[in-house]
């Protein structure tokens, strides 16, 4: 296994870990409705948000 293979492997693993973090934590598992603002912490209605 050469250096290029190792670098490629690290890049793929890092990409997969980042994708996992982004999908699970930031995108809330892409649950239905969460792509919009459903899963934001509950807060009072603010008309400026619309």
């Amino acid at each position: 296994m050469g250096l290029v293979d190792i670098i490629l492997m690290i890049v793929i693993i890092a990409g997969a870990v980042y994708l996992l973090y982004r999908s699970l934590w930031k995108k809330k598992g892409h649950c239905p409705g969460c792509d919009s603002e459903t899963c934001k912490p509950e807060k009072k209605y603010n008309p400026k948000d619309c």
């Binding site: 296994m1 293979d5 490629l8 492997m9 793929i12 693993i13 990409g15 997969a16 870990v17 994708l19 996992l20 982004r22 999908s23 699970l24 934590w25 995108k27 809330k28 598992g29 892409h30 649950c31 239905p32 409705g33 969460c34 919009s36 603002e37 459903t38 899963c39 934001k40 912490p41 509950e42 807060k43 009072k44 209605y45 603010n46 008309p47 948000d49 619309c50």
Partner: protein
């Protein structure tokens, strides 16, 4: 009456509407009671190009659309379905805050013509806002077929608004409705007379506002503000911070004394009286009323003895149809991913001289991992379709109603069953949907029980195992898992009620909508909304986990036996704990660990572990042969699916008699699983998958909803214990009675 609305959608992107702002643009809010056909009306007007989002910070869906109608740009905003504009539920607060603060140019008030009196209560409140209102007298055809005669002219004169009969499901009346909406400029609804006592108090408050708080007149509709101050509405009082409230006390003193009640109740009574009086004026019902179909069906469906068995039977039919319809398509995708797609990936990577390990990563990692999950997309969509059908037909509301008694046994009420029903699709939005429950105790208890509702992500695991072991009674086995989840939720609820959540269960009043045949279009839209996230998941974190699992299976680099890989070693540490429950091997243990991310990954990981790469070099078919094969096999999948559904309880392709060679070729994973498990251990395994810990995303959702990891910690601990105990009971009990 029109059959076609004739309007034109200009732009679906609500955030980039400035390009068409040179024309007159009006904002129109759509308000109405739940089940008044509001969503159908919006869908009929704006079609699939609706912008669907959510009201900020809440799970309440927000739909909006921008389109042109006869030279006017109309921005349509769908408000949550509410019975009134009081400040007690999330939906009511959203609707009234929008109307008061955003001041739309007009309101379309969707009114169910078959239920006039109740719907007019909201209309009376909308008129208080002083915003031009156009009433869509919806479901008018049903009212006519019941023999109702509604005098539109009297209603228009009494309320000072345009009233348009509509049938949203057939797109009737939409043209007239939109024309009336664009023609409301300068029209203001009639100021309804609330009686001398209320009007006298209102005049006194009005005078004081004009003298002491003139700045409020710019911000709030005057009559609405007067009434809210008289009612001492807590939200409004807090928002506007009136210092000296003595003028309100003074103005309402006589009113309270004369009626012997608080102003809020007096106002509510008066609004009901107005709605009731108007209904008697405009509505003539036939003297002899036949028992309606809804009542006839409800007599059986809501029967105290038959209700729950009918619900269970309905769910059984759903699962049976799901299997019968989707199995041929699942088989087709399975054949495609393990055949042509794999070959094409190998060919492309070979062509660009990619390192050999990347070919293995792509085929044994990504295609095996993601592919084995994608295979079950038809099953998931079919399930969502049938559940959406039950929801749209009005049956699911009955399910919540019949479950109310069972829910009381566990210290909850039927309203909690609604988030739990959502959990059959995905547990994550179900946890967020507990926000509809006012009581924190109900929220926490419901959230703890939601993971026991079998979500769609668990389906792929069930389908693989059922396909391998229980083909002859696939629907029944699948149904048994869902029933097991519900039964254990009831059991755990009773235990929690006696330990963590002592207290009385609150009352629950719910409306049962009439039975209706949902339109195919609306079914498809909602099925897509529910099912699409499985596709997104497959392309994101299931892909990521498949890649990571492949590395864990191949590290340390050059490992010969998968058992010696990192994943294998981790599985071997856990396997002894699973020995008594019938699947104490490292493969099953590793799959369960990866399934903590998402349950369908259990199948993906098994695909990567079990399905061995074939070394023998077969002659590769040409691309055209592959495409031809894809087409013909898809056609036969359609034929099989249709024949399965027609025969309803016929034999699905999962149970079709195939030659062993053909079956291995088409479903290698099912075949390997058959050699690694017994029917008893397989059932114990799928029961374990049903019950063991909620996935990581549910954990995050619980943390966000409750601001603490405590409830997730409790869910994790009890579910792990429950899963082990149930699997142990199934496996050891089965062996004891000779099933092993």
């Amino acid at each position: 009456m029109m059959q076609d609305t004739g309007y034109k959608i200009q732009d679906k992107d609500m955030h980039h509407a400035s390009g068409i702002m040179h024309q007159r643009t009006i904002t129109v809010a759509v308000a109405g009671n739940p089940n008044s056909g509001k969503s159908t009306l919006i869908n009929a007007i704006a079609g699939t190009r609706l912008y669907v989002g959510n009201w900020p910070g809440v799970t309440v869906e927000k739909k909006s659309a921008l389109f042109e109608y006869e030279g006017t740009n109309i921005k349509l905003v769908d408000l949550p379905g509410t019975y009134s504009l009081s400040p007690y539920t999330q939906e009511e607060i959203i609707a009234r805050d929008y109307l008061v603060h955003e001041k739309p140019d007009a309101i379309i008030n969707v009114v169910d013509a078959t239920n006039l009196e109740r719907n007019l209560y909201l209309t009376v409140q909308l008129l208080e806002l002083g915003i031009p209102v156009v009433m869509a007298l919806n479901i008018h055809d049903e009212a006519v077929s019941k023999g109702y005669k509604i005098d539109i002219k009297i209603m228009e004169d009494a309320l000072g608004i345009k009233v348009i009969p509509t049938v949203a499901t057939k797109k009737i009346g939409l043209n007239e409705l939109l024309r009336a909406v664009t023609d409301t400029s300068g029209h203001h609804p009639k100021k309804l007379n609330y009686g001398s006592d209320i009007e006298a108090a209102a005049s006194a408050v009005e005078k004081q506002i004009k003298n002491s708080y003139p700045q409020l007149l710019k911000k709030y509709p005057l009559r609405w503000l007067i009434f809210k101050l008289m009612e001492e509405d807590s939200h409004v009082m807090e928002e506007i911070n009136v210092g000296d409230k003595s003028f309100i006390e003074e103005a309402t003193k006589h009113l309270k004394k004369a009626h012997g009640n608080d102003v809020e109740s007096i106002m509510a009574d008066e609004r009901y009286a107005l709605a009731s009086g108007l209904t008697h004026e405009v509505l003539k019902k036939p003297e002899f009323r036949k028992m309606e179909m809804t009542e006839k069906i409800d007599k059986i469906v809501l029967n105290r003895f038959l209700g729950i068995p009918i619900f269970l039977a309905a769910m059984w039919v759903v699962f049976k149809l799901t299997f019968d319809f989707s199995a041929p398509f699942a088989d087709w995708i399975d054949a495609m991913t393990t055949g042509p797609f794999k070959r094409w990936a190998e060919a492309i990577l070979g062509f660009i001289h990619a390192p050999e390990w990347t070919v293995s990563l792509a085929t044994d990692g990504v295609i095996a991992g993601v592919g084995f999950v994608i295979v079950f997309v038809p099953v998931i969509f079919a399930m969502m379709f049938f559940i959406t059908f039950l929801e749209g037909s009005g049956y699911m509301a009955r399910a919540a109603f019949v479950m109310d008694r069972a829910m009381h046994a566990i210290g909850l009420h039927g309203k909690s069953f609604i988030p739990m029903l959502l959990g059959f699709g995905c547990n994550v939005p179900a946890v967020y949907a507990t926000r509809v429950l006012e009581n924190p105790r109900d929220k926490a208890l419901t959230s703890l029980l939601i993971p026991l509702m079998s979500c769609g992500a668990r389906l792929p695991v069930y389908v693989v195992f059922i396909g391998a072991f229980f083909t002859a009674y696939a629907g029944t086995v699948l149904w048994s898992l869902y029933v097991m989840g519900i039964a254990l939720a009831v059991l755990m609820g009773i235990i929690f009620k006696r330990t963590l959540f002592k207290g009385e269960s609150p009352m629950f009043i719910m409306e049962l909508p009439p039975y209706r045949m949902p339109s195919f279009r609306s079914l498809m839209i909602h099925t897509w909304e529910k099912g699409k996230h499985f596709l997104i998941k497959a392309g994101t974190y299931i892909l990521a986990v498949s890649i990571l699992v492949w590395f864990l299976l191949n590290l340390p680099w050059g490992v010969e036996n998968k058992k010696d890989s990192y994943l294998g070693k981790m599985g071997q540490v856990i396997a002894p704990v699973l020995e008594p429950v019938g699947f104490g091997n490292w493969e099953a243990a590793s799959s369960l660990v990866s399934g903590l991310i998402a349950k369908e990954i259990v199948v993906g990981t098994m695909g990567e572990i079990y399905v061995q790469k074939k070394d023998e070099k077969k002659e590769q078919p040409a691309l055209t042969d592959d495409l031809k094969e894809m087409g013909t096999s898809f056609a036969s999948a359609v034929r099989d699916s249709a024949s399965n559904v027609i025969s309803t309880f016929g034999i699905s392709s999962l149970s079709s008699e195939e030659s062993a060679e053909e079956k291995e070729e088409r479903s290698p994973l099912r075949d390997v699983i058959k050699s690694k498990f017994t029917p008893l251990s397989a059932y114990a395994f799928i029961a374990f998958v049903l019950l063991y810990m909620p996935c990581v995303v549910v954990a995050i959702a619980m943390r966000q909803e409750f601001g603490t990891w405590k409830w997730f910690g409790i869910a994790f601990a009890y579910q792990m214990a429950l899963a082990w105990i149930v699997a142990f009971t199934i496996y050891q009990g089965g062996k004891l009675i000779g099933l092993g």
